[in-house]
């Protein structure tokens, strides 16, 4: 296998006396979908928030694309190429698709030497169209507020935005939550397509069918520790539940 995109070494995060993440080491490689599993409070969100710059690790190191990184703010990890899509998607539902894809990074016309700058709607629309086409996402129209779109379609907008801005690692938090079944399938398709285009995806979930549907590898956390790391094809639902509830533990056996 090639070099890992993301490499976490003995990462620990404490909140006062509570150790939320305990000396976790983990690698994510290009072109794979890895699932991060665990019960509520297992520490998976905390681990991910250390990677996306929301929290700073108490101990341990993070390497991204071969270089050690210290993210003090979420924007730092984003500019390095790590896009995190949370359950709330971070979209402005009152704005249309191009406005959301270019939110905060609008393309502008410049007049009078940059003194007057107006939004370049046409460029943003055509670029958005290109980005959506690349992911084979089809919308009837781009110019209506996305609040009229379904949950799955908005999920697609969030993914397209991340891809357009050259995400090199995508972290998705429960992406199929609150979606109907057909929409879930479409989002999973999108995740596969992301992987095929070379963007690795970390999938945080406790929906086991999703794990078996799209992931190549998986890692399970329990009470802040990594209890196992496996190829998805080497395990089954029963075994995973055992790891998630703490009955099975590879580190203890060893």
């Amino acid at each position: 296998m090639s070099d890992p995109v993301l490499s976490i070494r003995k990462l620990t995060k404490r909140f006062g006396g509570l150790t939320a993440v305990n000396a976790v080491s983990w690698d994510v490689y290009p072109g794979e979908v890895v699932a991060l599993l665990g019960d509520n409070g297992a520490g998976k969100s905390t681990l991910i928030k250390c990677v996306s710059g929301v929290y700073q690790p108490s101990e341990g190191e993070i390497f991204f694309a071969g270089k050690q990184v210290h993210f003090s703010k979420p924007i730092d990890s984003r500019s390095a190429g790590i896009e995190t899509i949370y359950q709330d998607l971070a979209l402005a539902n009152n704005l249309d698709v191009p406005a959301n894809i270019f939110l905060g990074r609008e393309v502008k016309h410049r007049y009078l030497g940059g003194l007057i700058r107006t939004l370049d709607e046409r460029t943003m629309r055509s670029e958005s169209q290109t980005a959506l086409d690349a992911l084979e996402i089809h919308f009837p129209t781009l110019t209506q507020p996305i609040e009229s779109l379904s949950g799955g379609m908005r999920q697609a907008v969030a993914i397209a935005r991340a891809v357009y801005w050259k995400a090199r690692l995508m972290i998705m938090d429960e992406p199929t939550n609150n979606l109907g079944v057909p929409e879930q399938q479409k989002v999973l398709d999108l995740i596969r397509r992301l992987r095929d285009s070379g963007v690795p995806v970390i999938l945080i979930t406790h929906t086991l069918p999703d794990v078996f549907a799209v992931s190549d590898r998986l890692m399970v956390m329990h009470r802040g520790r990594k209890v196992t790391e496996k190829r998805t094809s080497d395990t089954n639902t029963e075994e995973l539940v055992g790891y998630m509830v703490g009955v099975r533990d590879d580190t203890r056996a060893a």
Binding site: D88, L91, A92, N93, N94, L95, S150, K186
Partner: protein, 381 residues
């Protein structure tokens, strides 16, 4: 398989992306309802006013009176539109207008007394009103954005402070002793003299005998022209610039705006500064019109301006609205008020009618949201 609008069965959490033609027609109509309402109202007064009095409703003079009357409501409403689209509220605009009136009157009087030519004194007055207002807005915005105090409370507090300051500076509610600035406040772009030997006069007021004065109409008085320019500028800012786009984004989803890297705090401060600056300009214009500064001029205007904004379709939840809507909302209020006066309806009825229109406007907006199945903003999954 591509992600497409669910044609066959819309999933549980989803809504159909396409509306039926009938519904789309309804949405279009409800989007234009403010225009329709304005047109119907004018029609109503055109028909009824001659029945109840000897006057006609649509005259040059009457239309210009209405335009002059809406100047303060429009100006206060413009800034308020930005604030409410960003999901805030600015309760200080009325009394900031009073402060702007006092500050500009003081600037005009004192600079003139120190030897400045009148045109310079007037420009200094404009700057004093606009910048004095903006300073209040920057304080509002900073407390709201940085200290996370709700806008309602911050602007309520500053409005009292500003009122006190305006009263103190005016010394006795009114600043008098201004030089003759009627040429700026009461003159207009065009003049029209009715009757024989009449006609249009551009920029220059015709010399008329006293008995002819009743035949003189002032078309586009300066305050209206200034307001039109301000309307054009803020329309450009809201609908064509990044700042405007960010205003909508902040009102639509503050957290998303923050995560997208928008400098949210700076934007909020600028939004409140803009709101207070337009209120200050309104104060300056009233000083020109009355050749005096007044610390009470904006007393009754806060709620009228909010009413205009709401009638114009700006959502109090933030994220939606236009400048044109606010202008139309102001026009509706002014046409209503003028028309009722001409019908000899007792003035107190105006309040009852305007209040009803505000509620009906919101009901129409909500029914449109029901049709398109819009979600409650902020509670997205």
């Amino acid at each position: 398989m591509a992600v497409q609008p669910s044609e066959a069965a819309p999933p549980a959490g989803g809504r159909p992306a396409q509306l039926s033609p009938g519904k789309r027609f309804l949405v279009t109509v409800s989007g234009l309802w403010a225009w329709l309402f304005l047109a119907l109202m004018i029609l109503f007064f055109v028909v009824t006013v001659p029945v109840f009095s000897s006057a006609t409703f649509v005259t040059v003079r009457n239309s210009q009176n209405i335009l002059v009357a809406i100047v303060p409501i429009v100006l206060l409403g413009l800034g308020q539109t930005f604030v409410i689209i960003s999901a805030g509220i600015d309760l200080s605009v009325g009394w900031v207008m009073s402060l702007g009136s006092v500050l500009s009157a003081l600037a005009i009087r004192d600079s003139y007394n120190m030897g400045a030519p009148i045109w310079l004194a007037v420009i200094l007055g404009l700057l004093a009103g606009a910048l004095g207002g903006a300073a209040v807005g920057i304080i509002n915005g900073t407390i709201i954005a940085k200290l996370k105090v709700p806008a309602f409370i911050v602007t309520l507090g500053t409005s009292f402070i500003v009122r006190g300051m305006a009263l103190l500076m005016s010394e006795n509610t009114t600043v008098i002793g201004l030089p003759d600035i009627r040429a700026y406040g009461n003159e207009s772009l065009l003049y029209y003299v009715r009757g024989a030997g009449g006609g249009f006069y551009f920029l220059q007021r015709p010399q008329l005998a006293t008995d002819q004065l009743r035949q003189l109409d002032r078309i586009l008085p300066w305050p209206v022209v200034v307001t039109a320019v301000v309307v054009a500028i803020v329309m450009f800012i809201l609908h064509r610039t990044q700042f405007g786009r960010h205003t909508y984004a902040i009102g639509g989803n503050l957290e998303a705006a923050r995560r997208a890297g928008i400098p949210v705090d700076r934007r909020i401060i600028a939004i409140y500064a803009l709101s207070a600056a337009t209120a200050g300009i309104a104060g300056f214009l009233s000083t020109l019109q009355y050749t005096a500064g007044s610390a009470v001029i904006g007393d009754s205007l806060l709620l009228s301006s909010i009413a205009a904004v709401i009638i114009g379709g700006v959502s109090l939840f933030g994220g939606a609205g236009t400048i044109m809507g606010t202008v139309i909302g102001s026009l509706i209020i002014a046409v209503l008020t003028t028309g009722l006066v001409m019908l000899n309806v007792q003035a107190f009825w105006q309040f009852i009618v305007v209040g009803t229109v505000v509620i009906v406007a919101v009901l129409i907006d909500q029914s449109r949201d029901l049709i398109v199945g819009r979600n409650e903003r902020g509670s997205e999954t």
